[in-house]
């Protein structure tokens, strides 16, 4: 019996060794010269395979960079540091790219928004959306089951106690995976330096909003009127801020009756300093 065990182990081991040697020789013989730049770039890229560049994973982008001469600024999580290092390898110039972060356009926590019932299904936004649409009365707002937080590879979105996602701006790289994950398109990628932000996506008007949500945008348009439509204008009962056109009168935004426009004073002053 022991002999049998020894013989079987020896024969399989011997076979393995023999084949291993053959493969080793073959590997030398059939060696392919891969462009070493592909490997170098692959090491620089973040390696999270988020797909924001439009190629299948980081290695796909690295290959495309070397072989197809694609734009070097496509890696969003890597931002400017990665771009600079790729540029050094490929001998190209870097382009300035505005860095983006994710913002959640909903403030409808459980005290703010009316309920239609109790959703006991699978705790997933996309499933809730295709079945009954969750249990909140607002047809536009956050469902609150955290698909965005689950998909974030950087641990930058967390579901708060209010059952709303909160973005950690320091960790957010702007890859945009959460935007794709949200079935209600609540998350928006915004320029990191923008100072106005509309915290609602409801396209309804007036009472249709205030009946279901205490904090939602009712589409009154006072922000746009005070500013004479310069920089802020109304579209589908929602204000749209054009940060390039904006002249500097922030009173309109501050007159918002539901306080749905977020005004980030620090970023505004930072920008003002630059202009002066």
């Amino acid at each position: 019996m022991t002999l049998l065990i020894i013989i079987s182990a020896a024969s399989i081991g011997g076979l393995g060794l023999f084949f291993g040697i053959i493969l080793g020789i073959a590997a030398k013989f059939f060696k392919t010269d891969m462009d070493s730049r592909i490997k170098d770039i692959e090491e620089i890229l973040p390696g999270i395979n988020c797909g924001a560049c439009g190629f299948p994973g980081c290695s796909g982008y690295a290959k495309a960079l070397v072989k197809q001469d694609v734009d070097i600024s496509l890696c969003i999580p890597g931002a400017s540091q990665v771009q600079a290092r790729i540029a050094a390898i490929m001998g190209k110039e870097t382009k300035d790219k505005e860095s983006l972060i994710a913002k959640v356009r909903c403030v409808g926590d459980k005290d703010t928004v009316a309920r239609t019932g109790y959703y006991l299904g699978v705790k997933s936004c996309s499933l809730a959306q295709i079945t009954v649409g969750g249990d909140k009365a607002c047809a536009y707002g956050c469902l609150g089951y955290g698909d965005c937080a689950a998909v974030c590879p950087f641990d930058a979105i967390h579901m708060g106690k209010d059952k709303l996602p909160h973005v950690d701006e320091k960790k957010c790289t702007g890859c945009g995976l959460c935007v794709k994950a949200c079935p209600r398109n609540i998350i928006e990628m915004v320029n990191k330096r923008d100072y106005f932000f509309i915290k609602c996506v409801s396209k309804d008007f007036g009472p249709a909003v205030s009946k279901v949500c205490k904090k939602g945008c009712i589409g009154c348009g006072i922000c746009a009127r005070v500013n004479n439509n310069e920089g802020i204008r109304m579209e589908n009962n929602l204000p749209v801020v054009d940060h390039k056109e904006f002249k500097g009168d922030v009173t309109g935004a501050q007159k918002c009756p539901t306080r749905v426009i977020e005004f980030l004073k620090e970023k505004w002053e930072e920008k003002k300093h630059e202009k002066d």
Binding site: I12, F19, A26, T32
Partner: protein, 193 residues
């Protein structure tokens, strides 16, 4: 001579590995989108199957049988197949990089392709000698390639056909695989077994 011809035809058509024995279905569905990559995959499988049959026969005849180690045949055959696939992968990577790209993940998947292991084990079951084993492996490879090419040419046409929306993609592919399999049943009975 006739006997050898029968072995090849039998392995290739009558007992077609994909469509009658239902072995190796993963690449059959996976690599049958384009005709040229189907052809390349077929060639790789023919090569692997033929050589695997020969080497597994020799291992069985000269190593496993004399030392009464028949119970090791599955694991040792897998070892042979894995090595061969690695080898083929290196050769294709060196000689035909575009083919290598288009085969993608399916080339290493020949390793776990049950058609290859199936052919090797069937050779032992049928008590084939060395030449018969090689021919059986070759025939099985040809049968696999034929099935793959048939499927790929149909699927290329299918891209342009008006398929009902709910049948697009995988469902229509499986239905066609079923119909092809039905057609191959017609070969049964050509040779009295």
């Amino acid at each position: 001579m006739e006997h050898y011809l029968i072995i090849i035809v039998s392995a290739a058509f009558i007992n077609n590995f994909v469509l009658s024995r239902f072995l190796g279905l993963c690449p059959f569905i996976g690599v049958s989108k384009r005709l040229d990559s189907a052809l390349g995959m077929g060639m790789a499988v023919i090569f692997v199957l033929t050589f695997a049959s020969v080497i597994t026969y020799m291992i069985h005849r000269f190593l496993l049988l004399p030392y009464h180690l028949e119970f090791l045949k599955t694991i040792s055959f897998i070892l042979v197949i894995a090595t061969l696939v690695q080898f083929v992968e290196m050769v294709i990577h060196k000689t035909a990089p575009t083919l290598y790209e288009s085969l993608g993940i399916y080339l290493p998947l020949i390793t776990t392709n049950c058609a290859v292991l199936g052919a090797a084990l069937l050779n032992i079951n049928e008590n084939y000698n060395l030449l018969e084993s090689a021919l059986n492996g070759f025939g099985a490879g040809v049968g696999f390639t034929v099935a793959l090419i048939l499927m790929a040419s149909i699927r290329e046409k299918l891209e342009l056909a008006r398929v009902p929306r709910s049948f697009k993609g995988a469902p229509i592919t499986f239905i066609i695989a079923g119909i092809l399999s039905l057609i191959f049943l017609c070969f049964k009975g050509i040779i009295a077994e």
